[in-house]
């Protein structure tokens, strides 16, 4: 079949369209080429001959972190860094190690270790990216560098924002710190726009909210001569202004935090948490030992970094959320709640009187008060933290019911606080023991220990604060959180708690509140008393195979209208009633008493815990 003439004509027309497209396309390319190679040739030749164009990064400041009252906790301050800008044209394929004389001059000038300078320059020459030789140098150094730049090819002074923590180590563990990104991270994060020399949040809020705090760097293209000296800005590459990160308002209250820091001043190892029991907002958080996050902003030496991260005490560890401790007698709050909910005892129930020890299965279990408490009802038993009473409760309660109440209070699981690397703690279940010891191969005797918060149970100080907060609020579930508001992102809201309200009768709650108030007014925590303030709490002393006991105290105040909950864990220090309870008193008196009524001097933590009528645990 021969194609018709009409078909042929159509085809010829289509051919014309295609041919036209080819001519037009290549014509367009030709126009572009003529413009580049003829019209603008001189300019480009100039650029290629003696000058090079390179982008210079305009670093964006991180967002500011404010406390709940608008006090600045972390911001960005302008600073000057000494940088080395590699020169690709000259360095490609050459030996990347710098001239020793150059290294000697530079390291002397900026007071930096020559080996470090050599290392940084080498890696910059290999990667082609600018390296920071020294951060945040004082005026005399950067002005000296500015003067002798021409003789030291590659060296430059760069203005960049420096992360500044206004109160040094205050709330260091909560705020976290931002440090320079390392080479491995540059590779893995480059798709998200990170480059060598960038700061990245490492811990705390700085890490968790990295995406929000981090700004977007700007850039401008500059023309530099063969010595690396800036000759002009390059017009073709548009200057892009840096965009700073979003600001955060956190729930922290500077006043509370300061009071906590003061109370914890003499503590070697331990943690304290202050929480708003009404919504779970963190008012203060202290962990000891502590570090100054400003050190990281300035660039840390390897030795110092090792000291901080691997030292025996590990100051970088946030003990408030990463330290797990046996709760000791503070856990009796949970045991009491479980027993009242289960109906196995009432507030007025009297059990076998305390003689100082209790026999179970042919073994003696002691009460912390060797003389014995005598006959007590449930409320009095909590006030005086009678172990023998709680042994008997534990036996009646049995593990599943105790576990259920503990878990309903959020123990044994992450609270979900918006801080990284939170620990879960541990609430053992029958299944857990089956797995550990074999099914049926564990005995009821361990219930005695669990009922008084010893044994396998572990909690974080944050969980302890959450526990008393929920007790104060009649079981209202809480999601501890730090970030209150993201400026510029009004829709941000911390996550709602994932648990249901703990069901218990009003009489259960009032008995628990009465008992906890009794602990402070006439029980084991009388050292926590503050005149005119009703405080409810519970002490704890956690036995510890490695040295002295950990002292614990958790409380909330005012008892009639809870506004703050506190939890203290002081490692290897002694009894909760004598060590931790006075710290709470110190914080609460600072916060609630007018200046005139406050004790003249803050009480230092007692050293001799058995002295001065120290209460037991």
């Amino acid at each position: 079949m021969q194609p018709s003439n009409r078909d042929q004509r159509d085809k010829a027309q289509r051919f014309g369209v295609f041919a036209g497209a080819v001519v037009a396309g290549f014509g367009l390319v030709a126009i572009g080429l003529v413009r580049l190679q003829v019209a603008d040739h001189e300019r480009y030749l100039q650029l290629s001959k003696e000058n090079h164009v390179r982008p210079e990064i305009l670093r964006a400041p991180r967002g500011t972190i404010f406390d709940r009252n608008g006090q600045v906790l972390a911001d960005s301050a302008p600073s000057f860094s000494i940088v080395f800008r590699p020169f690709p044209a000259e360095s490609v394929g050459r030996d990347p190690s710098p001239d020793p004389e150059w290294v000697a001059r530079v390291s002397r000038l900026i007071e930096q270790d020559p080996a470090e300078v050599r290392r940084l320059v080498q890696s910059a020459n290999t990667s082609g990216q600018t390296a920071v030789l020294k951060r945040n140098v004082p005026f005399p150094i950067w002005s000296a560098v500015e003067e002798s730049k021409d003789e030291l090819p590659g060296v430059d002074v760069q203005r960049e924002p420096l992360r500044h923590y206004a109160y040094g180590n205050l709330a260091a563990h909560l705020l976290g710190y931002a440090g320079e990104i390392n080479e491995i991270e540059v590779d893995s994060l480059s798709s998200q726009g990170y480059r060598a020399g960038d700061l990245i949040g490492r811990t705390g809020v700085e890490r968790k909210f990295e995406d929000i705090l981090r700004g977007q760097d700007g850039a401008e293209y500059v023309v530099v001569n063969a010595a690396g000296k800036r000759v002009a800005t390059f017009k073709e590459g548009e200057r892009r202004e840096p965009v700073s990160g979003h600001d955060l308002v956190i729930t922290l209250d500077l006043k509370v935090q300061k009071a906590l820091e003061q109370a914890m001043a003499g503590v070697e190892r331990g943690a304290a948490v202050a929480m708003d029991p009404r919504d779970g907002g963190i008012l203060g958080l202290v962990s000891r030992p502590v570090y100054d996050p400003n050190e990281f902003s300035m660039g840390l030496s390897w030795d110092r970094w090792r000291e901080l991260s691997n030292g025996g005490t590990n100051p970088l560890l946030n003990r408030a959320i990463q330290g797990v401790y046996p709760p000791g007698s503070t856990f009796k709050v949970v045991t009491m709640l479980a027993a009242l909910r289960a109906g196995i005892a009432s507030p007025s129930t009297r059990l076998q009187p305390c003689s100082g020890r209790y026999n179970f299965g042919g073994r003696w279990f002691g009460c912390w008060k060797h003389a014995g408490h005598g006959s007590l009802n449930f409320v009095e038993a909590l006030e005086h933290s009678c172990d023998v009473y709680f042994y008997q409760i534990g036996l009646r309660l049995e593990l599943p019911r105790l576990e259920e109440t503990a878990r309903a209070l959020g123990l044994g699981d992450r609270t979900g606080i918006d801080l990284p690397q939170e620990k879960k703690g541990l609430i053992p279940s029958p299944a857990w023991y089956d797995k550990r010891w074999g099914a049926g191969r564990w005995r009821k005797g361990l219930l005695l220990n669990l009922a008084i918060g010893q044994g396998e149970i572990l909690v974080t100080p944050l969980q302890l604060a959450m526990l008393v907060s929920e007790a104060a609020m009649d079981g209202q579930p809480l999601r501890p959180h730090v970030v209150k508001q993201v400026r510029g992102a009004p829709e941000y809201h911390w996550q709602r708690p994932g648990r249901a309200r703990l069901a218990a009768s009003p009489t259960t709650w009032s008995a628990l509140h009465e008992a906890m108030e009794g602990v402070v007014s006439g029980g084991t925590a009388t050292l926590a008393r503050v005149p005119g303030l009703r405080i409810a709490g519970k002490t704890g002393t956690a036995q510890n195979p490695h040295g002295k006991d950990h002292a614990l105290f958790a409380c909330y105040a005012p008892a009639e209208n809870p506004q703050i909950a506190l939890a203290f864990v002081i490692e290897n220090s002694g009894h909760g009633g004598s060590i931790a309870a006075p710290m709470a008193a110190q914080v609460l008196s600072t916060l609630f008493l007018p200046d005139s009524l406050r004790p003249a001097a803050a009480r230092p933590p007692a050293v001799a815990d058995t002295a001065a009528g120290a209460r037991g645990d």
């Binding site: 194609p3 289509r14 480009y44």
Partner: protein, 405 residues
């Protein structure tokens, strides 16, 4: 006495000369770009072997009658789709995208094969005297055939290569006789997105669509398809955008606006422009380029090879390349005009694929198109691309040899 006369088969000599000329220019430029010390030093030796392999492949492909390819179109297409899936599952990545299959010493890019297979399948489908491309059952299967590899390649992600599929379809629709109005309707999703981003409102596009539908008066199926497709696009646009992670948005923004990424694409373009511009009318001379030495132009022997041509051979060199390409494509178009049925359609598809790649790469190197990572056909360093280009030339020669059949 018998006189011996050398009788060459009637292949298209100008087409062969243009292609070989471009390969030779490519070899010299790759030699120059990889002669400086660095990671890619000496790669030109391999390119030499690839070029020989490509010529061999062209010869081989030309020797087998194209009717064989016609009958093998669907199996080839199936295999290439399987390979595209495979590359997504276990491909090796470079520059953040999974595009390659690692076959020992060889790295294979299945999207290249998929392109040829798609051309073959479309040519086979459209080679039908009763074809009516305004009928749903004729145009819709073709659309699906193209969208599958398009989506798979887009997922790698390789936006540049993936766009070649719809463009091939468009060209072959047109060549196969689809009315222009219908083609415009097929393009409406593109207008939709562009108009939305340009004006910030969907009303402009709605008006355009209404006018178009009124003017073309297509069959009901096409009206429905156009409305559904554009409705879906309009609905999905903001959702897709908001659902992206920040770094994904940043990548897209960099794609649309390379100046956004000062150390990456934007910088490459500036370096490329400086290299080309500084070459002037006759260039700095072979091996005498200075800009190519910049480490910031890491793809100088692949994607940015044309800037090395521009720097060392000047306008003379760049325009020579342009003319050789134009000559090659015109010869290809001529073959499409002179042949019929499958052969003609295949030729148009291949010419379109080549033209698209050439344009995207050249416009990128002069800074008029975003950085996409498409090599320059026949010139850039790279085994798969060169051999696939060889196959494409071989298929065109195949048409030349048998167009009288």
């Amino acid at each position: 006495m018998t006189r011996f006369r050398l009788r060459l088969p009637p292949f298209d000599v100008p087409l062969a000369i243009a292609a070989l000329g471009l390969v030779v220019i490519g070899l010299f430029t790759v030699f120059s770009a990889t002669s400086i010390p660095g990671a890619h030093q000496g790669l030109w030796v391999r390119q030499l072997w690839w070029a020989a392999a490509a010529v061999g492949a062209a010869w081989l492909v030309a020797a087998v009658p194209y009717r064989v390819y016609d009958s093998l179109a669907y199996p080839t297409y199936g295999i290439s789709l399987a390979l595209l899936v495979l590359v997504l599952v276990m491909g090796s990545s470079a520059y953040g995208a999974k595009r390659w299959l690692d076959l020992g010493p060889l790295k294979f890019q299945p999207s290249e094969l998929a392109k040829i297979a798609t051309v073959l399948v479309l040519a086979r489908r459209f080679d039908d005297p009763k074809l009516k491309l305004d009928k749903f059952r004729h145009w819709f299967p073709a659309l699906v055939i193209v969208l599958v590899p398009f989506a798979l390649v887009l997922k790698e992600p390789d936006l540049g290569t993936s766009l070649s599929f719809p463009i091939i379809l468009l060209a072959m629709f047109f060549w196969a006789g689809m009315p222009v109005g219908h083609l415009l309707l097929g393009l409406t999703p593109v207008f939709n997105v562009v108009l939305f981003f340009a004006t910030g409102s969907l009303w402009w596009f709605a008006g355009l669509l209404a006018v178009l539908l009124g003017a073309v008066r297509p069959r009901l199926a096409m009206v429905v398809a156009a409305l559904v497709l554009n409705g879906a696009v309009a609905y999905a646009m903001p959702h897709v955008w908001n659902g992206l992670a920040d770094y994904q948005k940043r990548r897209i923004q960099t794609f649309l606006d390379p100046g956004n990424d000062p150390y990456g694409a934007g910088y490459q373009i500036i370096q490329s422009r400086i290299a080309i511009g500084s070459g002037g009318a006759v260039g700095k001379g072979f091996l005498k380029g200075t800009q190519k030495a910049l480490a910031f132009l890491p793809m100088r022997h692949t994607d940015f090879i044309y800037s090395v041509v521009g720097e060392e051979f000047g306008l003379l060199g760049t325009l020579t390349v342009v003319l050789l390409y134009a000559w090659l494509l015109m010869r290809g178009l001529r073959l499409a005009l002179l042949s019929r049925g499958f052969a003609s359609l295949m030729a148009i598809g291949l010419v379109t694929a080549l033209f698209y790649h050439i344009m995207v790469n050249m416009l990128m190197t002069i800074g008029w198109a975003p950085v996409t990572g498409l090599p320059l056909p026949l010139i850039s360093y790279g085994g798969t691309a060169l051999i696939v280009n060889g196959i494409e030339i071989g298929l065109l020669q195949n048409v030349a040899l048998r167009r009288k059949d």
